[in-house]
Symmetry: C2
Subunit: 364 residues, 2 copies
């Protein structure tokens, strides 16, 4: 019996190898060399697994059309956990993907009681503005709200009900109610929309997700292969590891001490780093002798996921820190320095991005 | 525990009083005198029950806006069972109702495996053409296909998922699967759409149905009162008795001997009447002595539901037939005469209607 991962429940970080085996996710590592200028999230095995990502690579290599699709459930401030997804969107856009970003406002209304207007404001002010500041070119992005999807988009989401049974939905989600079923079918329409006839028909589409979102991918793949009204390629997916919260444990939008937001004041962000959990030893002497336990260090995670692009530099920090040459206080100084300069620069870009975003929304 | 009536299962004709009591349906009879020129279906207690129909009468009396809404699941030929609904649509239009006709093509796709194109053809060639030939003025009718509903219509149908639990859906339908849930929520949007903000907001809306469709009405009324995004008046409903098939038992689209279609050749229709079940006695002598059992007579039903408008004339036939003055062969001659002239006239009007319908569809 397979373990159920509930995408609406707690995130289960770690133990990625077992999950890959359980769910039939392939390792990303053998494919990374085929990527042009692989992004650090790929180089560092943070995007660790995939389904059918080879089809995306073929499209990149052949210059044939492909798409990247992601959905967002707006909640709270845009933080470094969200940035990881943004970085993948932007990287896929650079690879030539047509980009689809669905704001799951129907889903957040149904499963989180969030009014549609509130979802809209969060999505625009937090997500879209930061995406653009991080480098997304909005001009050819399909950025849309579920509640404003086309007639065909909504109709297709309903027709998909014929391609799944109640038992299958229950097997994927553990339980099912009208809200979850409606949200799930709408999300399947989000994932398959890039392949709708009016969008040019079947093509490779990749959806970058965390492992906990895999049930949605499997549902979309099953429905893609069963639907009889038109052909669909099974959507591909990539799986990334989760960043932990600054205190270890889960990063949570409801606990501002667990994350750094991209709109945090730089000095406030540095104070959060000062308070963050490290893998360094209790005493200077023990650290010098045994080195840090890097697996337990969320500050090193911040460097590896976000703040240091240069692999050589990161490797050297890893060596020094794990061998005890570097103390956790010194590691934090590096992280604070990088964080300060990243946030200052990003927050400047954010102001320009705000204008571009408003132009973009006025046009679309 | 209430009895479940399955709107997708067999129609349970008869025993109307018990159903009214079980489901809280009020008798129509006390309200009929308030109707201007009450239609024979109301005068003869064929439309026997209602919920909140008083609100419709108030709107008629005050000249304030109200709507009539009906849905159709296209299947087979348009017969005298369908005509009963058409007559009610047309009568409500004459009373001043704004008319909404939803072609439930998403529902027939999900619950009857009918391709959308086939549903469209049936709906237009069979239903709409006959509606117009029977007297519907198409100009201000909202005739639409679920699959072509607006973005807001589909989004609302999805938001309604928050206002009903899985248990409630199961309690209404006996069981539930993704197809039924999706169909049910879409139908609720059909019923509440006349009250959407862009349609002028809350107003009295009546939905004429058979008793077996009452679960849909109750679901729509519950959701109308629970939805928090805008106000809805609980939809009103009327309940009609079912015509039986020509052989007694159920009238079924899959058995052409059980019904007369409005496109049947008049002579063929007369042959069906010749073979129909009557309540007359086996021998002429027994009939003269005891009279007919009119409750068992589907030919008399045809006269009462459709073919004879004049109450005095119908009452006289009823008297003669039940007292034995009239034989069932004589009753059939009356029915055949009326049927012949009805079908000839209707089929002529159908040709004009076909042109008007195409003009109407081209405009809408």
């Amino acid at each position: 019996m397979q373990e159920n991962i509930d995408p609406w429940g707690d995130v289960q970080a770690g133990d990625y190898d077992r999950k890959m085996e359980d769910f039939g996710i392939d390792p990303m590592e053998p494919l990374v060399d085929r990527l042009p200028k692989p992004h650090k999230l790929f180089r560092r095995d943070i995007v660790y697994g995939h389904r059918d990502f080879g089809r995306i690579l073929n499209a990149v290599e052949n210059g044939s059309p492909f798409a990247m699709m992601t959905g967002l459930m707006p909640s709270g401030q845009f933080h470094f956990g969200h940035k990881m997804v943004a970085d993948q969107i932007i990287y896929h856009q650079e690879l030539g993907a047509e980009v689809y970003v669905a704001v799951a406002d129907i889903e957040s209304y149904l499963t989180r009681d969030m009014p549609l207007e509130e979802a809209r404001e969060f999505a625009v002010e937090q997500y879209l503005t930061n995406y653009i500041a991080l480098g997304l070119e909005p001009e050819n992005v399909n950025f849309y709200f579920q509640s404003e999807g086309s007639t065909n988009y909504h109709t297709m989401s309903k027709l998909f009900a014929r391609n799944v049974t109640q038992n299958e939905v229950e097997a994927v989600y553990g339980d099912v109610d009208p809200e979850k079923l409606t949200s799930a079918l709408t999300q399947v329409a989000d994932i398959l929309q890039p392949q709708f006839e009016e969008r040019g028909g079947p093509k490779p589409v990749v959806v970058p997700v965390g492992t906990d979102q895999d049930p949605h991918i499997r549902l979309a793949r099953d429905i893609a292969s069963r639907f009889s009204g038109q052909d669909f390629a099974k959507p591909a997916s990539t799986y990334h590891k989760f960043m932990r919260g600054l205190q270890g444990g889960k990063m949570s939008s409801s606990d501002p001490n667990s994350y750094i937001a991209l709109t945090d004041d730089p000095e406030e962000a540095c104070e959060k780093i000062d308070r963050a959990k490290t893998g360094g030893k209790q005493s200077r002497e023990a650290q010098r002798k045994h080195g840090a336990d890097i697996e337990e260090d969320v500050v090193f995670e911040l460097l590896a996921f976000h703040l240091i692009d240069d692999d050589e530099r990161l490797r050297e920090i890893h060596r020094q820190y794990s061998e005890g040459e570097m103390l956790s206080g010194e590691l934090k100084e590096i992280a604070k320095e990088e964080m300060r300069s990243f946030l200052r620069e990003h927050q400047e870009r954010r102001e320009e991005a705000h204008e571009r975003m408003q132009e973009f929304l006025a046009r679309s």
